[in-house]
Symmetry: C2
Subunit: 337 residues, 2 copies
Amino acid sequence: MKSNVTMRDIADKLGISSVTVSKALNDKDGVSEELKERIKTLAGEMGYRFNTVAKSMKEGLTYNIGVVIPERFTGPGQSFYLHIYQQISRALEPYGYYGILHILHREDEEQLNLPRIYYDRKVDGFILLGQVSKPYIELVQTMDQPKMFLDFYDEHADIDSVVTDNFYGAYELTNYLIAQGHRDIAYVGNIYSTSSIQDRFLGYYKSLLEHRLPLRNEWVLSDRDDEGSYVEMELPQPLPTAFVCNCDQVAHNLVHKLMGLGYRVPEDCSVVGFDNDVYATLIVPQLTTVGVDIEQMARTAVDSMMKKISHPGSRFGRVLVQGHIVYRDSVQSLERS
Amino acid sequence: MKSNVTMRDIADKLGISSVTVSKALNDKDGVSEELKERIKTLAGEMGYRFNTVAKSMKEGLTYNIGVVIPERFTGPGQSFYLHIYQQISRALEPYGYYGILHILHREDEEQLNLPRIYYDRKVDGFILLGQVSKPYIELVQTMDQPKMFLDFYDEHADIDSVVTDNFYGAYELTNYLIAQGHRDIAYVGNIYSTSSIQDRFLGYYKSLLEHRLPLRNEWVLSDRDDEGSYVEMELPQPLPTAFVCNCDQVAHNLVHKLMGLGYRVPEDCSVVGFDNDVYATLIVPQLTTVGVDIEQMARTAVDSMMKKISHPGSRFGRVLVQGHIVYRDSVQSLERS
DNA sequence: CTGAAAGCGCTTACAG
DNA sequence: CTGAAAGCGCTTACAG
């Protein structure tokens, strides 16, 4: 397979013009069926491969989408966003598009440097995967290319976004705990950290409200600082009977902590998570949690992005992707006991 | 920031030619310092962004590297290769290159379809990350572009590769067990499945040989079928005092299994893993294992790939990247007891 | 130091 | 149905 075969090479061999070869190879009108077949056959024999770059130049499209993930979400043990990226790559396939991953370094986020893929015009659009700082969001808005947020959103930024229905998921999960007889339920998560954590908290709160249960400040436990680094947390005394954690990793850590202090989960204390990631099943008891539909989120984001590229200026707002509760073994029913 | 600013636009504003603008912006000779400055300033003001596509077309380079990962290594809970991909992206940065991830679907591997990035000429080279079938390896060799294997190799295929020093790592780890007084040591892994598992086995075996310990067939336990799917494994009776597992995930599963059967780890039985991934620390006791230097592997692969692109036809063979033992709590010393 | 000409490999009108 | 011309935005010789 020689690589440097061009349409002109094929045209020359057949004594025709490269225009006709282009039409044939792209299945466009204006070539007889018979000639088209001959061209395609010869192209195959000569090992012709399409030169996407030339097409890109003509059309002004790169057929790449940039997926930007802040560095802090990509450490060891943090594979959630990498898996979403993988699903994005997949979802782009049928469109003939490719995904280019860009890890947004801490310094670049702080110093407000746009990703290099922007300055290099490597992509036709950006998917920002994972919450960035407010100033960075504002910076992103100055880019004159289609862009969207995935798995977070910002009230003030007028950028389309696709997020899990965090609010409803946490609401349902808390309802479930209450249905199991729990009344003393704490929430774990820094509610000023990300929109996801905040919305999950509000879903938890709505459930409390609906059941006329009080929201107790000492039962809203911060698990990380505002930058997202985990901090050691203080357990309230007396212990609530259940904890709604903002993610599986934190739920996982909490279970370990409780066990270390001699409590049994779920007998002494129930714990639920969110995300249904590795952490949910890498512990005994396995965690009851909310499964996020990664595939659906990626597909929704990609479909929307493609529309934005083909119809510049189009908007679709904030799209919620529903999750579903995964029932496992970390919740005790208080009804029976 | 308007996007459609070209070098010509800048040239026109300054009443000069686009050639001069090109030279200035690329810091090439042939422009006076003063003019160069004026050009750069204006480019900044006009929001000029380099059109990589045009450069690509001229040079015949895409400035992309394809990273191909077989689908079976990318499931939920399997983030090792995604993390390597991430490090590859990073390592490509200083070269002005980008990484395009391509998940090799099961069907495409079976039906011997080359990745679409090949036919679309999207990349200047390929990094195959994760073992593929023999026939697919042969197919890959027909591609007329730089290519290399990462984290596996094939004896017969004459393709450059970068791998962890599996042999030496397992050898050292087994030596450590023996130093702790262990004599009855089993190996867990299907030794026909991948070259990594095979080499780790041989490292284990070498350690046995050096210490004049017999290799017992019933102590070489298969953990997966030849396609890589995990299978339930039979524990030998009587139990050895230690297990060398081919990876952390399998070690993790084994510990669970042993505990389920009422054994204590490491008191009744020591278990070591390989990779130092999430699975190593998500269990009590945390696993003693061999840490793979993901960053170094990615960097080595990228540096080599860049050489292959700039010097076509260059070879560097099989490069080993050293790992290091991470001592944790899953090994009991038999000397003291 | 500066620039006119040609070309990278395609595609898009348009003409025959 | 087929093709000559022009152009996408740059860069590489080469000439002045």
